[in-house]
């Protein structure tokens, strides 16, 4: 029982982490709080759903759907977010709130309001039995692949030229500009990368959770809570808070399913009262 809850908690934590990691790199680099981030997560799931009807292979859509969402994200960043750089950060919240509304309505028009689900791929269905404990394969897969993505992200940030340019742009955009790098292209790339992470999580969660037009706004508030609990600029903080929140949700759901979301917000309020910058924020 508790093994199951722990596994579930890990899976939830990993999905949260993928979503919030995207939010964090976008916020950390660009100072943009993206309310539409949940909507891009939702688009990932819906595009995955449609692609699945076409190609019928889960692993293909797991790669292609985030790429397509990345293209949409590039358009959004260029046409709407870019003109607002240099204004008060509040304007990006306001703008992306509008984008979230628009995307939700477009999803309703294109895909309808019914609940869908991406089928579990054959290889990943069923359980692995060890002794008396069942490990659902898909859950292990989600945990494993998310860990892989997390490690890959860390390596990109610390070991690649792109990562160095990204970090340099966030600490001194003007200097990077002066060195001949086009910072606005870096910003677009960061936004696209963050959005692709969300879309990736969307496809992964589209198998176990319902794909609905409200999944975007449902997840974004929780994602903000995790972001705030961990500390808005800190990737490690987000890892920790994703784990805390994922476990809380899984274990509280065992005893009082209705309370799980409430606990997240209470925790967020408590953290903000004790340490307004979050667990690991400066």
């Amino acid at each position: 029982m508790s093994v199951q809850a722990t596994l579930l908690g890990l899976q939830i934590a990993m999905a949260y982490f993928l979503i919030v990691a995207g939010l964090v790199i976008i916020y950390g680099m660009m100072d943009v709080i993206n309310v539409a981030h949940g909507s891009l997560y939702m688009l990932g799931a819906y595009i995955g759903l449609t692609l699945y009807d076409v190609v019928g292979n889960f692993f293909v859509i797991l790669v292609v759907a985030p790429l397509l969402v990345g293209i949409i994200a590039a358009g959004l960043e260029t046409l709407t977010i870019r003109p607002l750089y240099g204004r008060h950060p509040l304007y990006h919240i306001l703008l992306t709130l509008g984008l979230a509304l628009i995307i939700e309505e477009v999803v309703k028009i294109v895909w309808g309001v019914d609940t869908h689900r991406i089928p579990t791929p054959e290889v990943l269905s069923g359980q692995i039995v060890v002794g008396s404990v069942n490990f659902p394969r898909y859950r292990l897969f989600v945990i494993g692949i998310s860990l892989l993505v997390a490690v890959a992200m860390y390596l990109v940030f610390t070991r690649t030229k792109f990562g160095i340019i990204m970090r340099a742009s966030s600490s001194d955009a003007e200097m990077v500009d002066a060195l001949g790098m086009d910072v606005s292209k870096v910003y677009t790339a960061v936004f696209v990368a963050g959005s692709m992470l969300a879309a990736f999580a969307g496809v992964l969660m589209g198998v176990t959770n319902a794909v609905t037009p409200t999944m975007g706004i449902d997840i974004i508030i929780i994602a903000f809570a995790i972001l705030v609990i961990g500390g808005a600029g800190s990737l490690l903080g987000v890892v920790i808070s994703s784990l805390i929140v994922g476990m809380l949700v899984a274990y509280v759901s065992l005893f009082a399913p209705a309370m799980s979301e409430l606990i997240i917000y209470l925790l967020m309020a408590a953290v903000l009262i004790v340490k307004p910058s979050g667990l690991l924020g400066e």
Partner: protein, 357 residues
Amino acid sequence: MSEKSIPTDRAATKSDGVLGKRGKYGLLTLGILAVIIGPIVDVIDPFWFRLLVNVLVFALFAASLDLVFGYTGLPSFGHAAMFGAGGYAAALLLLNGFASALVVLPIAILVTIFISVIIGWISARTKDLYFSFITLAFAQILFIAAFIDLPARILSPDRITRGDDGLVGVPAYDLGVTLTDPMYYYFFTLVVVAAGVYTIIAVANSPFGRVLRGIHENEERMRAIGYNVTNYKVLAFTISGALTGLAGALYVPHSSVAHPNLFHWLVSGELVIIVLVGGMGSIWGPMVAAGLFVYLEHVLSAFANWLLILGLIYVVFVIFVPDGLSELLKRAVRNPRDVPNNAKRSIKSYINSVRYR
């Protein structure tokens, strides 16, 4: 700092305060117009007449939010908490035998004051985006509490908020006569909303309001001068919250339902949209925008996707008219011939900012 701060109605920084003489006469004219137009609309179409009450309620809600959001510079994303609290308080009282508006409204306001003080006291310790997030968290807590009927889980075996069903069949107020007649309810709402808006303007223009304005412009300086900035913020939040609760208490008996969705973050979000489109800090701009919002919602949802259009209009406003309608109108009145030029200039600068070099 000043360059990057949230722009607001520039007139407000001048000595004549928010809404100059002309603005006040303008609002008074709108009020008188509302008195005349109500009965006329009722004759033409009773359905539209019922909408007018919503216009008034949301005008009060928008003006209250603007007092903290635009005027004081506290970006609250959780004002639905107070709207819902006022609404639920009124609904519970009305459904349990209290009918007099003179009893129910004051109690509903007291309940929201209690909630605003708690939320404000905790939130005022944080700034900017964190303020947004923590107010949002509190509204979500209340949303879930109403949704899962937390009060009943704690207090009693009976249902209290009735969860997702909401409280239905909330009767109208009694004020000597019952206000079931839409005409009575309209005029009652008009008087209460007028009083509420008057309070907001009086607060904004008082010495207290000037301190709030000062906090918006330069918080550190106000602190250095010796003002207890946090207390001012909490008080501003509480006044705004109380009036938002009043709006909620007017709204619920009118629609006869109190549903957890009153607390939903999209309610807060829509009101933030209204305040921005109207013009932050001008008080009258958001009120006008609230009226347009209610009107457009009902005109457009008949044959088009209202939320999609709202989203598009709103995004255009954020990008091209961040000062909102109030500044746009003011500029147009001051210099009508400049309007096409201004439009051309902002489109040009938009294209420049979008293009890769």
